[in-house]
């Protein structure tokens, strides 16, 4: 674990990653240029080489994060045992959610803190931004239930103050950031720290206590972020993502922690903030002009992390903090909807690249976020430029000199293009293979069902993500173009539930992708049939998009994509399920269990 990477350590980690990524990008571009210019240099060859540089650099940068993560991995330190002397508000922002399920999470976390004898140091505040009156009325009804369940009347009678609060804003001004800010401006002075959650967040009591102790021990620490594990997935798509997040993300997060030092990230939830630091530095203004580039800042968390760092506070990601959970989208459509919002939020950061006083790394993080959404455009441009270059390639001239006796065959540079393709594939696969090997050596595979099951999960996830990638690429490209054309995506509520789609749903979402797939294959066949084999891995998933969207939303059960949280259900998750069943009379939609492998931790 990296508690506080020295600035020198972070700088050398960044320099190493940057150097290798630029080197690999430049090498790939040089090889591709030789291949492209074998029949004589044309402008399009330069364009293709530049696109190869950008896309390879971006892939290499991602791969380097995993390498840095593997290099810098340390054994987690023993938990702190210092007494808790501070007051923390646990904030649960809600927006048109199912109140019974959400409030049961509050109850489960309260139980976890009560078991540790630490409940007195924590209050829970449900911060509702719900705009649907019917859901709002349900929230009030279920809050009464929570109040009774937590015996708050008895607490008041004993002369103690309530520990559970509920507030609903009539208008959700500033969205989640505005919701949190409203809490700080109303009640912030009452607390030292605030644990910011999402409506689907769950955290173990030990994790919350450890975070508070770490923040107590580091007076300049402004924000402490955990790496939430995805749980509760039930579909093929959801469980593949849950497996990937559980298996790969800890290593990538470790690499990120090594590179960022104390200019870490904020992902908007499952993070502890120092109230004074946050209040001093994080009141966000509206950006001038209309959405999508103006108005409220959508991806507020990145900006808040940058503002804390600007004010001199440390922002840290501690990947060793386990017991932090969230839920993920269950199907590709919900994923794309969330991605549309994130895309607009990240592209909006272009306005903040020149914000006064920001740390260089914070600006780089904004740039990285922007590039992550623009990268698909470069892939699309690369595909189009290759079709164009092949279709307009000059006929080989075997007799370039007059009265030449023997023909001159153009030098075949195809092996160089194949080399680039193999390298790109390697950049995609190698980090995953290295993480698998590392997990075997450290014994981490046991939670994923052992070596064979982890390998099977890795290969299946690789196959699924290869099929899904072209479809995601189309959605991302559309999202970027919509934002660039000034279309505001708004702030849709998150979709929860099992997410199982019907074929008509999938067709409604994917028909236009199918048309593009058909067009790509048709154009390749007409203009550059030699490229057909290279285009089919992209074109076929596009043509089959509705089927892929539908099939990936269907239920899935272990042992494939088994995760440690399915092998051994964490206490707070088990408590949440138990409380929902108790309150509503029906069990929450839970993933199919890993048969006899499932047990609840004591």
């Amino acid at each position: 674990m990296i508690r506080t990477t020295s600035s020198g350590g972070a700088l050398s980690a960044r320099a190493f990653a940057l150097l290798v990524s630029v080197g690999l990008g430049a090498g790939a571009a040089a090889l591709f240029l030789q291949f492209g210019a074998a029949d004589g240099y044309q402008v399009v060859d330069g364009v293709r080489a530049a696109l190869v540089f950008i896309t390879t650099f971006w892939l290499a940068w991602g791969a380097m994060q995993s390498v840095e993560g593997l290099i810098s991995a340390r054994r987690a330190p023993p938990p702190l045992v210092t007494p808790i002397t501070t007051r923390t508000a646990i904030l649960m922002p809600v927006y048109n959610e199912d109140p019974a399920v959400v409030f049961a999470r509050v109850a489960a976390m309260d139980d976890a803190l009560t078991r540790l004898g630490l409940a007195a140091h924590f209050d829970f505040a449900i911060l509702s931004d719900t705009q649907d009156e019917r859901v709002g009325a349900e929230e009030e009804r279920w809050f009464v239930h929570l109040w009774d369940d937590r015996a708050q009347d008895a607490r008041l009678k004993a002369g103690k103050k309530a520990r559970f609060f509920y507030r609903r804003r009539p208008r959700n001004t500033g969205r989640k950031a505005g919701n949190i800010q409203d809490f700080f401006e109303t009640s912030g002075a009452h607390y030292d720290f605030a644990l910011i959650l999402d409506a689907d967040s769950l955290m173990e009591g030990e994790t919350i206590a450890e975070m508070v102790r770490r923040m107590q021990a580091a007076p300049r620490l402004g924000l402490l972020q955990t790496l939430p594990r995805i749980t509760g997935a039930r579909s093929r798509f959801g469980r593949a993502m849950q497996f990937a997040a559980g298996f790969y993300s800890p290593v990538f997060a470790q690499g990120q922690a090594a590179m960022q030092g104390v200019t870490g990230p904020f992902w908007g939830h499952n993070a502890l903030v120092r109230v004074r630091a946050f209040a001093e530095s994080c009141a966000l203004p509206e950006l001038s002009g209309p959405p999508p580039f103006g108005g409220h800042i959508l991806s507020h968390d990145y900006v808040e992390a940058a503002l804390l760092a600007r004010a001199g506070w440390s922002v840290r990601l501690d990947p060793d903090l386990t017991g932090s959970f969230e839920e993920g989208p269950q199907n590709m459509i919900d994923f794309a909807k969330r991605d549309r919002r994130w895309c607009q939020g990240n592209l909006q950061h272009v306005r903040l690249l020149s914000a006064p006083g920001l740390r260089a790394w914070s600006r780089f993080v904004f740039f990285q976020g922007i590039l992550s959404y623009i990268a698909p455009l470069f892939w699309v441009m690369f595909l189009a430029s290759n079709l164009y270059a092949t279709a307009t390639a000059p006929e080989p001239d075997f007799f370039p000199e007059p009265f030449q006796l023997f023909p001159v065959f153009p030098s075949d540079q195809t092996s160089k293009a194949v080399g680039v393709a193999v390298g790109v594939f390697g950049l995609l696969v190698l980090p995953k293979v290295l993480i698998l090997l590392d997990a075997i050596i450290r014994g981490r595979v046991e939670g994923f069902g052992g070596r064979f099951m982890a390998l099977r999960g890795m290969l299946s996830e690789l196959l699924m993500s290869s099929i899904n990638a072209p479809i995601m690429l189309m959605w991302q490209t559309r999202a970027v173009l919509q934002v660039l054309m000034g279309r505001d995506g708004g702030w849709p509520a998150q979709t929860r539930g099992d997410g199982q789609l019907t074929l008509p749903d999938a067709f409604a979402a994917g028909w236009w992708i199918q048309l593009w797939g058909g067009a790509v294959i048709f154009l390749t066949r007409s203009l550059a049939p030699d490229l057909m084999l290279w285009v089919l891995p992209i074109g076929v998933p596009l043509v089959l998009a509705p089927l892929v969207i539908w099939a990936s939303s269907q239920p899935s059960a272990p042992p494939l994509f088994l995760t440690p949280e399915e092998t051994c259900i964490p206490q707070v998750i088990a408590d949440h399920r138990r409380i929902v069943t108790l309150w509503t009379g029906s069990a929450p939609a839970a993933p199919a269990s890993a048969a006899d492998a499932v047990e609840v931790t004591a």
Binding site: E140, Q152, F165, S187, H190, V275, P285, S354, A355, P356
Partner: protein, 74 residues
């Protein structure tokens, strides 16, 4: 007649329960209001809308001044 009376009684019991719950809910929501402990959050400056323009302007002015100095030096 009997059925009608029973319906009326159960309806008034139901109304009474609804009223009691609404009263209790209102009392709980009052008790559960966020504690009053305001904290000032100063609005941050994050936009430098003309930063590029200002830099360009400064650069041009510096160039112009340089030409002026050079011209005066001749």
């Amino acid at each position: 007649m009997g059925t009608r009376m029973t319906t009326q009684i159960s309806s008034s019991v139901s109304d009474g329960n609804t009223f009691a719950f609404a009263t209790r809910k209102a009392a709980i929501l009052r008790e559960a209001a966020l504690p009053h402990a305001p904290l000032v959050m100063p609005r941050q400056v994050i936009e430098a809308p003309f930063a590029g323009g200002r830099t360009l302007h400064r650069l041009l002015m510096a160039c112009a001044a340089g030409f002026g100095r050079t011209a005066r030096g001749r």
